[in-house]
């Protein structure tokens, strides 16, 4: 299953089932869908940032960066950004190791208890970690990781979804390649590192995009684990910042802060549209 946003599809026959009215409605919905985003852009560069007239979607002003300066000054976005970066890349780095090893075991090895292990992994896929925030917080505290970035990352280090994805990718690689390496005396690490991983690159990229997006955007769990303002990720920082600016009704500043927080992923999407779409479609259940 894969479809780029601009990929060719089954063509002529399909056109029949999208009559003109339907198409018009779809265009309207798409335009309506951009309104919140549009408002954010217009308000963020508005020299005025409070009161009536903020709701205009047509910029009637000379754009200014004043709101960005104020947002930048009232919340430590660079530090929040760094924390978010550490969290999402840290999770990804460990996940890549755990899912590769476990994926190889499921793809290529026969062992007793294999089915049981499979269902143990499947259980994580069914019980989303975010729902386990309460007991996981207790566990994090017991491990001495409360109020640390490692505490935010730890519950995600193992990924059933990633493991199954790698298993699929590894199974598609011809066994003969590994057999040949085996004859040359390659160890299991060498076989994984030089044969399996390079050939599974598309799946690794798909997983990386889904994983980083999910953890970049995560809020409730870091909110519970992090207490020190210095360790807040972007999402928690934005929520705190929004509450402050909402009190002051400083909507232009809120729009600027929101733009700062959302920009990295939007930019990445603009650059790698196809990769994003494909990995989201192949992800399905995270």
């Amino acid at each position: 299953m894969s479809a780029g946003l601009g990929e060719a599809s089954s063509g002529v026959a399909m056109a029949e089932i999208s009559p003109r009215i339907g198409y018009g409605a779809a265009v309207l919905v798409a335009l309506l869908w951009t309104v919140p985003f549009l408002w954010m852009l217009v308000a963020a560069f508005n020299p005025q940032n409070v009161g009536a007239g903020m709701a205009s979607l047509v910029p009637s002003y000379v754009p200014t960066l004043a709101n960005f300066r104020e947002a930048w000054a009232s919340a430590d976005f660079p530090r929040y950004g760094l924390n978010t970066l550490i969290i999402s890349l840290g999770i990804l780095a460990v996940q890549l190791v755990t899912i590769t090893l476990a994926g190889y075991a499921f793809a290529r090895l026969e062992f007793p208890g294999r089915s049981l292990c499979f269902y143990l992994f499947l259980l994580q896929l069914m019980l989303a970690p975010v729902v386990l925030i309460v007991p996981n917080l207790a566990m994090i505290a017991r491990l001495g990781l409360y109020d640390s970035l490692l505490g935010v990352m730890a519950p995600y280090f193992a990924s059933a979804f990633g493991t199954f994805l790698m298993r699929q990718a590894f199974k598609a690689i011809p066994r003969e390649l590994e057999d040949a390496a085996l004859i040359d005396g390659a160890t299991v690490w060498q076989r994984i590192g030089f044969i399996y991983l390079p050939l599974a690159k598309p799946s690794l990229i798909a997983f990386a995009i889904v994983s980083v997006t999910a953890h970049w955007n995560e809020f409730l769990w870091p909110l519970m684990v992090i207490n020190s303002p210095d360790l807040r990720p972007l999402t928690v920082g934005l929520a705190t910042f929004t509450r402050g600016a909402e009190g002051a009704q400083a909507w232009g500043v809120i729009a600027a802060g929101t733009l700062i927080v959302s920009a990295p992923l939007l930019l990445a999407f603009a650059l790698f549209q196809r990769a994003f779409v494909n990995s989201f479609v192949s992800s399905g259940i995270k």
Partner: protein, 313 residues
């Protein structure tokens, strides 16, 4: 080359002589490779579930006293709590009111935009942008959209000489306002699956239907939808999972208020744990949610097994 592989196979077979099914080396290696994942899953999935069951079934009669077996007392207290019942009811309304409209919308959009033209590619990209917004960031924007009087919605309604309700302040309206945000956020995501699903509908099927004189509606009903059935089921599961697991916007927009009218299960559990420190009730609430998650995914277990797993198709 071929010979080498054959002989390698022969060597491999020789190693496992006497244990035809489970070569010993493989077993040790497999558990070595699975160990990091199993250890982490143990710490953050299995142990928490065991702990939850324990906490849900026990209670402290005095503060700092021993945990005593309390049977279903925590669950009784949970269901006796008006706020929990409200959260459960809200979650049901929220599920129905977000999953069905997003699904219909996503299907309609996919059908309309399935042809690949440059305009359609742009429209699809615009519809996908909300998916990439952190839910918290989306909520910050919607805070202004729903602002009474000068907010985006009221400002433009006023131009049409209409006046809206207090979107987030009116207990009868707030949940629906939040549903609007959820639909906006997710419809583009679900659209992707339908676009992918539509690629699997064979062109012949349409040609045959056209020859039979079927009109567009009949073709949708008798050709497209039957082919999309698996996709619809899949999107429904993802939608329901989102309904249970995503409450960031509730935190930013309403904190569950006014008078619990927008409280959802996960946010209720969060409140019990962080604000009222009621461990037993939080545990019982979490178990109710886990039961819901299992019920939602159990239906698609067969599909999961097939796409990931042990049962080959």
């Amino acid at each position: 080359m071929t010979q080498a592989i054959l002989s390698a196979r022969a060597i491999g077979a020789g190693e496992s002589r006497g244990r035809p099914f489970w070569p010993r080396g493989d077993t040790a290696l497999a558990f070595g490779l699975l160990a990091p994942s199993l250890l982490l899953l143990g710490l953050f999935t299995y142990a928490p579930v065991v702990q939850l069951v324990w906490q849900a079934l026990t209670a402290q009669s005095t503060i700092g006293g021993p945990q005593l077996f309390a049977g279903l007392e925590n669950f009784r207290a949970l269901f006796a709590d008006g706020a929990f019942r409200k959260a459960l009811a809200n979650n049901l309304i929220y599920a129905l009111g977000t999953v069905v409209p997003s699904l219909v919308l996503a299907l309609g959009l996919a059908l309309a935009l399935v042809r690949s033209t440059q305009v359609n590619a742009l429209l699809r990209a615009l519809l996908f942008v909300p998916v990439l917004f952190p839910l918290v960031a989306a909520a910050s924007i919607f805070l202004f959209i729903f602002l009474p009087g000068i907010g985006l919605l009221d400002y433009h309604l006023a131009k049409l000489a209409l006046s809206g309700p207090n979107w987030l302040g009116d207990p009868d309206v707030a949940l629906y306002a939040i549903m609007g945000l959820t639909i906006w956020k997710n419809a583009g995501y679900y659209m992707l699956f339908f676009l992918a699903g539509l690629q699997g509908v064979p062109a012949d099927a349409y040609e045959a239907a056209i020859l039979d004189g079927a009109n567009p509606w009949q073709r949708l009903r008798h050709v497209t939808l039957p082919y999309l059935k698996p996709t619809i089921g899949f999107v429904m599961v993802i939608g329901l999972l989102n309904v249970v697991t995503q409450v960031d916007h509730v935190f930013v927009l309403t904190k569950g208020g006014p008078s619990d009218s927008t409280n959802l299960l996960l946010f209720y559990v969060y409140q019990q744990a962080v604000e009222t420190y009621d461990v037993g009730r939080a545990a019982a609430g979490t178990l109710v949610m886990l039961a819901l998650l299992l019920a939602i995914t159990a239906g698609s277990l067969r599909t999961l097994e097939r796409s990931f797993g042990e049962k080959e198709p």
